[in-house]
Amino acid sequence: MKELRDPADFFRPLKETRPPEEFWVGFWPSVRAGIREAELSRRPMLTPAGALLLGSSAGVMVAAAILVLGFLVVPALRMVPQPASYPATASRTAIPHPEERTSPPVLEELGSASARVYTFHVGEKADATDVILIVDEAIDI
C-alpha cells in the first residue's frame, strides 16, 4: 500500500505558478499613485517658509490689533460713563431728584374754568413721584 503523500511535495509546484504578463498591467501605476497619495497625506500642511510667512502675518495682525485698541477703543471707552457709576435704579433716571424737580410737563391745556388740578406726592426720595388728578364737572363723558 502506498504511503500518504507529503502535502509539502504536493503543493510545492505552486511556486512555479506565474500570472500572465497582462495581469501586471496597471500594477506599477497603482503602486506609484499609492506612494504619491501616502506622501501627500504625510506631508506637513505648511512648509517652513510658509510657517514663517504665516507667523509673520499673525504678528502683524496682533500688532495692528494692539494699536487699534490703544488709540481708538480705549479712549472711546473712557468717554462713556462706567456702568458702576450709574445708580442702582438706573431705569428711573427719567424721574428727577426731588430737589431738582421742576413743574410737571404740561399734559393738556385746560380750557375749563371749573377744572381743578390736584397733585399728590407719592413715595420718598428716589421713589418719589407725582400723581396728577384733574377734576372738572364740565367734562361730558
Binding site: 500500500m1 502506498k2 504511503e3 500518504l4 503523500r5 507529503d6 502535502p7 509539502a8 511535495d9 504536493f10 503543493f11 510545492r12 509546484p13 505552486l14 511556486k15 512555479e16 505558478t17 506565474r18 500570472p19 495581469f23 501586471w24 500594477f27 506599477w28 497603482s30 503602486v31 506609484r32 499609492g34 506612494i35 501616502a38
Partner: protein
C-alpha cells in the same frame, strides 16, 4: 543595474530605480500573499500595499541584512492584517467542506497531478483550516523553500516554533487531502515526513 544599486538609488528617492525593484520582486510577493490571503484580487491589493509600504520604510533598510527577508516580513504582516480585516468584516471564506463540490472535476488515479489551477484551488480550500501563522510558515518554508532560520526571522519567531507550525500545517493538510482528495492523498511511495 544590480539590486544593491537599485536599492541605494531608491533609498535616495529615485522612483525609476524603485520600479526596477518592484518588477524584480512582484511575482514572489504576489505569490506569497496569494497563498496566505487565499484569493487573487485580495493578494494583488496586498502586493501593491507591500510596495507602497516598502517605499515608505526603505530608508530604514540597512545593507547587510537580507533584502528578501525584509520584503517578505512586510508581505506576511500585511497579508495577515488583510486576513484579519476580512475576517473582522465577515468577508473571509471560512472552512466549508461543501465548497468542495465547486471544485473542478479532478482526474482519477494517484499518479496523475492536478493542473496548476486545480492545485491552487485545492490549496486555497484546504489551507482555510490553518491559522494565518501556520499558513505563512508552511508557504514560506515548504512552498517557497526558504530556510527555517530565515522564516523565523521573517515571522519574528524562534526556529523551533516555525518547525512546530510547519509540522502541524503538514499534518492538517495531509488529513484534509486524505479525506477530501483521496485520489491525491496517496503518493508513489514517498517517505512520510
Amino acid at each position: 543595474m544590480d539590486e544593491r544599486e537599485l536599492i541605494r538609488q531608491a533609498q535616495a528617492g529615485d522612483l525609476q530605480a524603485f520600479e526596477g525593484l518592484v518588477k524584480g520582486w512582484r511575482e514572489q510577493v504576489f505569490r506569497i500573499a496569494r497563498q496566505i490571503v487565499g484569493e487573487e484580487e485580495g493578494a494583488k491589493d496586498v502586493a501593491q500595499m507591500v510596495f507602497i509600504r516598502l517605499w515608505q520604510v526603505l530608508r530604514k533598510y540597512r545593507e547587510g541584512g537580507s533584502f528578501g527577508s525584509y520584503l517578505h516580513r512586510i508581505t506576511v504582516n500585511l497579508a495577515i492584517d488583510f486576513c484579519r480585516e476580512q475576517s473582522r468584516r465577515g468577508m473571509a471564506e471560512s472552512w466549508d467542506p461543501a465548497g468542495m463540490d465547486t471544485l473542478p472535476s479532478l482526474p482519477t488515479g494517484s499518479e496523475t497531478s492536478p493542473s496548476p489551477g486545480e492545485l491552487q484551488k485545492i490549496f486555497e480550500v484546504l489551507s482555510r483550516r490553518l491559522s494565518p501563522r501556520q499558513r505563512a510558515a508552511f508557504v514560506l518554508r515548504e512552498i517557497e523553500g526558504i530556510p527555517t532560520e530565515e522564516v523565523a526571522e521573517i515571522l519574528g519567531m524562534r526556529p523551533s516554533t516555525i518547525r512546530t507550525h510547519v509540522q502541524e500545517a503538514r499534518r492538517i493538510l495531509q488529513e484534509a487531502l486524505r479525506r477530501h482528495y483521496p485520489e491525491y492523498a496517496r503518493g508513489s511511495g514517498e517517505k512520510q515526513p
